[in-house]
Symmetry: D2
Subunit: 241 residues, 4 copies
């Protein structure tokens, strides 16, 4: 597990673009977006906590978005039988997940597959909408501090993230449909192993407490995140004892 102690901006600008990735386009929107793809530079105002486009179009002159610095990439090495993944790839080992809740204070759980784990982090985003529709978020530079712990003897199906309020499982796969199945199975495993729920109880908790969001559609794998509020889990933990 990697706990992000500090994820802070260290410069006052970021670059993005005005493209929309193919996975988000139907035929009509593809036609409308066909000439897009120019670089867009954003000013990062750490004091006000907002980003604004440096040369906004007519309708964006007052547009600003809250800064929420995050890491697009957190990964360990996959097991040695696999080829080393590219930096744009993702999977059970983490990778280029581009999930906008991997922020200061979050903990990322990844499976150790090789001696030393071979952790890396990177791909700082000053902020990012769900999906990372532009293919880039507000790409920038960052100061990062983190601590690493090893939890022995634990197996997980895919990346997991924990915040102050939620536990979250990621599904990363070649379609949103398969990523959805992955995130769900990953959470079912978590509820079964950590909270000792029976299959019937897993179904009831997932049916009433699931919050699904799309993390990204910009890289080879698409990502779906299943979140469960920790308030719901408190009652599970106490009940089983």
């Amino acid at each position: 597990m990697v706990h992000l102690e500090r994820v802070r901006l260290n410069r006052d600008w970021a670059e993005s673009d005005d493209f929309i990735v193919g996975r988000a386009l139907d035929s009509d929107l593809a036609v409308k977006m066909k000439d897009r793809g120019k670089t867009v530079r954003w000013h990062l105002d750490a004091e006000r906590g907002v980003a604004t486009p440096e040369k906004p179009g007519e309708h964006l002159t007052k547009y600003s978005v809250p800064l929420r610095p995050m890491l697009g990439c957190v990964a360990v090495a996959p097991n040695v039988a696999q080829a080393a993944p590219g930096t744009g790839d993702s999977g059970r080992y983490g990778g280029n997940m581009d999930f906008n809740e991997i922020v200061e204070g979050a903990t990322v759980y990844l499976p150790v597959s090789v001696p030393g784990a071979l952790l890396y982090v990177g791909d700082g985003h000053a902020m990012q909408g769900d999906g990372e529709l532009n293919g880039n978020a507000l790409e920038t530079s960052m100061d990062v501090e983190f601590t690493v712990d090893v939890i022995p003897g634990k197996r997980i199906m895919g990346p997991r993230v924990e915040s102050a309020t939620h536990i979250m499982t990621m599904g990363l796969d070649g379609s949103l449909d398969d990523a959805f199945r992955g995130a769900t199975a990953n959470m079912a495993q978590w509820l079964t192993e950590e909270y000792k729920l029976t299959p019937s109880e897993v179904a009831q908790v997932l049916g009433t407490s699931s919050e699904y969001k799309v993390s990204e559609v910009a890289d080879r794998n698409a990502g779906i995140v299943l979140k469960i509020n920790k308030e719901r889990l408190k009652s599970l933990a106490s009940a089983g004892k």
Copy 2:
């Protein structure tokens, strides 16, 4: 447009089950869930604002979920060239959308396709997790009051919902991937027509302000919702003037 003035529970129990629908199952989870499907009855405590299973399993004895009454179905008639859709279907005309933000206070926008629109509402859920993974939510009875307005001369690609804080577009299609494209194109249309954004501006706003969630995977169509916070939109509206 249909504005939900009042969506209130009128009895103290709901029925759901402990099944998980096929779209959420990978092969392993399918094996684990193979014997599931029994009815689960929930007690609805309007005073405390929570639902609890009436005969909880060992680990769910203290489990409760907040009530959030919603309508699974809001629909008009599709255009007359189409067959009348079943009550489990959905599409541009609305239908069985099972989106848990169609609650008291929300406004649902649907295209009028036939004289009189032929609006119907139904499918009351005391609350529902994202995805409606059990195939059923906490199905119950409800008192509903709503007002209807007609906005002449307006065309929309698919259902839209507005809350106090967000505008939302729905994509409803045969896969999450296609629903994702639909929700995105629907919002691009909204930003283009109502806020006069250029394609480049649409891309920049979607890239930085999109919030995507999965509404449901339980019916013939899967649903993805794209939400944009109205705070972001205020600056757009004022800029263009």
Copy 3:
């Protein structure tokens, strides 16, 4: 089961178009095809057995395609709990399947769900490429003769087709991925019930004898067909006795 005794053209022209449906388009091809959609009229030459465009473009002046008259629609009524499907829809009950091997000599198996079955046939195509990419095939008029038999006590997961050489199962669903699962499960059921194969044997036969083709992507459901050559099946039938 519906056996098509005779499926013959009765006029000398057909209409199609030069559009490509959205399910076949990536972003680049969508841009390239954006202005397409005009009607294309084809001359049907029954004597030579070919169709040719009446006003071909420069490169199609010598282009011709073999006639292979087929029925796009063969359907019974679904069970009464469902809404009556539109003529563009398909499912377990058959419907607008647009499969180019539903030709003279073929037998189509559909499940009887209501008294009288309520069979209908239609949507004559002089010929059709796999996928029905134009949204229309060479749409024309036809003389059709067929015989109907009832096989009591039999249940099938989805439509099946039998030719002189192959047995075929159809998967019809909201994505090609789900249609693929449906066609496979449908054939696994056939091999299990008719040929008494064990799950291990089903896997070995499917692994070595499956022929998959795409039937269509032009309607609400996409279709995948799994074909098995009857030569392979002869050995199965004789072995179990």
Copy 4:
């Protein structure tokens, strides 16, 4: 381009298994197949030209399949900006395509992306059903002879294969739906560049001459192949001159 001069078996056995991969399973079939996965050894009888399971189950005692030796893998190196792909991966550069028409006599076209191209071939299959549903085909050893030619100045979107009778384009992607789009766009590029067809003509030819099959669903990418009979193309080539 890689022309396969000779692809011949050099031993009399192959190994496969009785598993079915997840992409082919719906929930019910997943339950039925849950205990499968044992190795199945096949005897290869080159003289009779068939393969038979060495220890067949009760219903497979007379089951045999025609030998059709093929190469599962033909690849060049992708461009240097990408990570080296694993041997189970595929893409524009070819790779583990598991397409059962890559046999003796076929020509495979791949884009040269690095100096020397860095071609490799492998993954000999004595035969394979469409889809490679078992995750393995009849895996065996082979003698292979091939010739390589370089076609300067040519760009292709993805792998292409040519046989005596057909030209074929492959789509390799994270879902069958996206692979279908890829195969179609790849063929549209071929018809546009080699046969000078206009978009309208491309649509008409694809609509009437497309033959789509599923190549495989066993690896990270699924594959769809679009085939066009060379008979249809002769008329195009002559018309444009």
